[in-house]
């Protein structure tokens, strides 16, 4: 178990200056002519934190880096730089080979200040306590495994619940909690015998059986029909309420964010451009990108058709991120300052559109706030 050495105010997950770059596969010709490999700057210096029992939504269009963050947090990708602190423990990718459990830092060895004071958590530990829910329920279940095997996989891999009866009991409880009742009926079925919503419930059961502290949900409902979506979101919310699980909710859909998240971070081209409590971000967006994004979300009421702010062109390729403010080439409100410097997250000094100030928590990376 991870020791409860942390104070209640300590965040469950803290991501510090996370950077993840992928080299673009080089062509043979390029290799021979020794051209420098281009980099996809998928995540370009991102920091945020999630409190215990909190739901943070990471919103953005495809290619903005939100899924890369999810995969990095869960340990599927190794960060290029930056730190991930999970429940007060520094996640160290290297620790897995060296130390199966905790990897205490040797005294006197170099390291960041955090490394000196924080105990490490191995990836193995992380895998147990942080679980991921994937986008496509048709793809995230092995078609040749039974539901029991799928849900029990986490237990088996991590050597938990070694006794069969114990495992059966845990799987049963997890399926039951995920709304698949009676659980025994599902044990020996295959994924193709289930509907999309049922499969996503299986995925959630597979995550909950590990009794996680953090769930990273990557677009968990975007492949599902509207009538099923609410079910799955409500199930996740119920898990949060009953067990105090923190959730990192990755989505492109502002609508679900409004219902589900406590706080929102809006991403554009590998950066968080705006972050704050859901209600404030949705009602009083500070960043022009957030404003545009919100204005084009379809509203299910023909009486409320309104002027949409449609950005021209498409999001630039993350290989060629514009200099200075990365949103500036498409920004309807860009001014001189935007082509001179790169804004970082800041609080509004004065009320931008006369609306209420978002308070300390509400920040955006835009010079209009100065």
């Amino acid at each position: 178990m991870i020791e409860e050495s942390t104070t209640p105010t300590e965040p469950m997950l803290q991501v510090d200056q996370l950077v993840k770059h992928f080299p673009v596969p080089q062509s043979l010709w390029g290799l021979l002519t020794r051209r420098k490999a281009a980099m996809v700057r998928a995540v370009d210096n991102v920091s945020f934190s999630i409190e215990k029992g909190e739901v943070l939504a990471l919103v953005g269009e495809s290619g903005c880096g939100k899924t890369t963050i999810a995969r990095t947090v869960i340990g599927l990708e190794k960060p290029t730089s930056g730190q991930i602190i999970f429940n007060g423990h520094l996640v160290d990718v290297v620790a897995r080979q060296q130390h199966p459990e905790f990897a205490p830092l040797e005294p006197g060895s170099p390291g960041t200040p955090e490394q000196k004071v924080l105990p490490f958590v191995s990836l193995r530990r992380l895998h147990q306590k942080a679980q991921m829910i994937f986008q496509d329920p048709y793809e995230s279940l092995d078609p040749r495994a039974t539901i029991f095997d799928i849900v029990a996989e986490g237990l088996e891999v991590n050597g938990l619940a070694r006794k069969r009866s114990e495992r059966v009991e845990k799987v049963q409880r997890a399926l039951d909690e995920a709304g698949l009742r009676p659980a025994e009926d599902y044990f020996w079925r295959y994924p193709h015998e289930l509907s999309g919503g049922q499969r996503q419930r299986v995925v959630i059961a597979g995550a909950m059986v590990m009794e996680p502290d953090l769930i990273v949900a990557d677009e968990p409902v975007s492949m599902l029909d509207v009538s099923i979506r609410a079910d799955i979101l409500n199930l996740l919310r119920q898990m949060r309420n009953q067990r105090g699980v923190s959730i990192l909710f990755i989505t492109h859909d502002m609508g679900t964010v409004a219902y589900f998240a406590d706080r929102v971070a809006v991403m554009y081209l590998g950066r968080i451009v705006e972050i704050g409590p859901t209600r404030q971000v949705l009602q009083n967006p500070l960043h022009p990108y957030t404003q545009a994004l919100l204005s084009v979300v379809p509203v299910p009421n023909p009486r409320l058709r309104r002027k949409r702010v449609i950005l021209q062109g498409e999001t630039p390729n993350p290989i060629h991120i514009p200099l200075y403010c990365r949103f500036q080439p498409r920004c309807p409100r860009a001014f001189e300052r935007c082509t001179l410097a790169d804004p970082s997250l800041m609080q509004p000094v004065r009320n931008v559109s006369g609306a209420v100030s978002g308070g300390e928590q509400h920040q955006a990376a835009c010079f209009l706030l100065e």
């Binding site: 409500n234 859909d253 949409r308």
Partner: protein
């Protein structure tokens, strides 16, 4: 508004389509579907996956795969029943009168033919003009959808997702059709690109006086652009009316639940309503109302008798329907919506 015109452009009457499964089992994908499209109207055909909306569209174009078969009904285009035409006659209607755009423009464009050639092809096919004029028309079309005509000699893989969908729209407009079928045209796109494409669609529609049938699962998109809405469930029409009627005074319990389940930015509630259970499988439909197993308002009759699509008579939710535009009828297939004497 074009809706007020008395004449209809396309009338679907009692259309039923069946699919033969691998073991010879029959699945009724479209069951007794009727609706109208007027000139200049945008009709939204909404429903969840497997509700028969795409099959309806393919049935109208008569492009079903071999396992599918239209078993009954009429498709009246300008008074002509398309189902009575032979294949050769039908071909003259395709693209010239009714064109389509698909969800995945990448798959719907031929990877080894240049975009320009693909746009020009139907113009030449329908003998509308000679080669040179057709080339000029391609330039015009590309200009209309906002693609530089220098890119017409490029191949689809050189286009971005949004541009492919624009090229697809240009192609659909090539023969100046009167109806455009758009099957989930924005589903695979990001919200911003989606907004761009929707705006383009609305723009060309206004410009050319097109009718559009928008087939989608996205209630929000339909609300943004449609004049009238057909809600499908389990192969049947559940509700049919103007957008205002369907969205602001939904009569069918399915429509009501669906709208509650759709997250609304402007009025986020504490809990998102959900519909218990799962949509029916088309080869295993309930005997009565298709929605009955999931319906929270079901009465005894629902499990026995499948309700017909009828005009809504017992409006509990205010009489908005008949009030504003008396000639626009609001239809729903639910026993609760019909008058009491009919229920017996």
């Amino acid at each position: 508004m074009a809706l007020e015109s008395t004449q209809t452009l396309l009338s679907i009457r009692h259309l039923s389509t069946e699919f033969t499964g691998s073991g010879g089992s029959l699945a009724r994908a479209v069951d007794d579907v009727s609706f109208d499209i007027h000139p200049g109207e945008t009709l939204g055909l909404v429903g969840e996956s497997g509700c028969g909306k795409t099959t309806t569209m393919l049935s109208i174009m008569r492009l079903l795969p071999s396992s599918g078969r239209i078993t009954s009904g009429q498709i009246l285009y300008d008074g002509v029943d398309l189902l009575s035409l032979n294949e050769r006659e039908m071909r003259r209607y395709r693209w010239k009168e009714m064109a389509m755009i698909f969800q995945s423009a990448m798959n719907a464009l031929n990877p080894v033919v240049t975009v320009g050639d693909q746009i020009r092809e139907p113009i030449l096919q329908h003998d509308l003009m000679d080669h040179e004029a057709a080339d000029r028309r391609v330039d015009e079309l590309l200009d209309l959808v906002g693609i530089s005509k220098a890119r017409k000699d490029q191949y689809p893989h050189q286009y971005s997702g949004g541009m492919r969908q624009r090229a697809m729209i240009a192609m659909a407009l090539a023969c100046r059709p009167r109806i455009l079928f758009a099957d989930e045209p924005t589903t695979a796109l990001d919200v911003m690109i989606q907004a761009q494409v929707l705006e383009l669609l609305q723009h060309v529609q206004r410009e050319l006086g097109l009718s559009v049938m928008l087939v989608t699962h996205d209630l929000g998109v339909v609300a943004e652009v449609s004049d009238s809405v057909v809600v499908m469930y389990g192969g049947k029409v559940a509700e049919y009316g103007t957008s205002d009627q369907v969205y602001n005074s939904p009569q069918h319990p399915y429509t009501q639940r669906l709208l509650e389940a759709f997250p609304d930015l402007n009025a986020p509630g504490e809990v998102l309503a959900s519909i218990p259970g799962y949509p029916p499988r088309l080869n295993d439909l309930p005997p009565g109302c298709r929605f009955e197993p999931r319906c929270d308002q079901r009465i005894e009759l629902c499990s026995r008798l499948s309700p017909e699509l009828e005009e809504v008579t017992n409006l509990d939710h205010g009489s908005l329907t008949s009030g504003s535009k008396p000639f626009l009828r609001h239809l729903a297939a639910c026993h609760l919506c019909t008058s009491l004497e009919k229920r017996q």
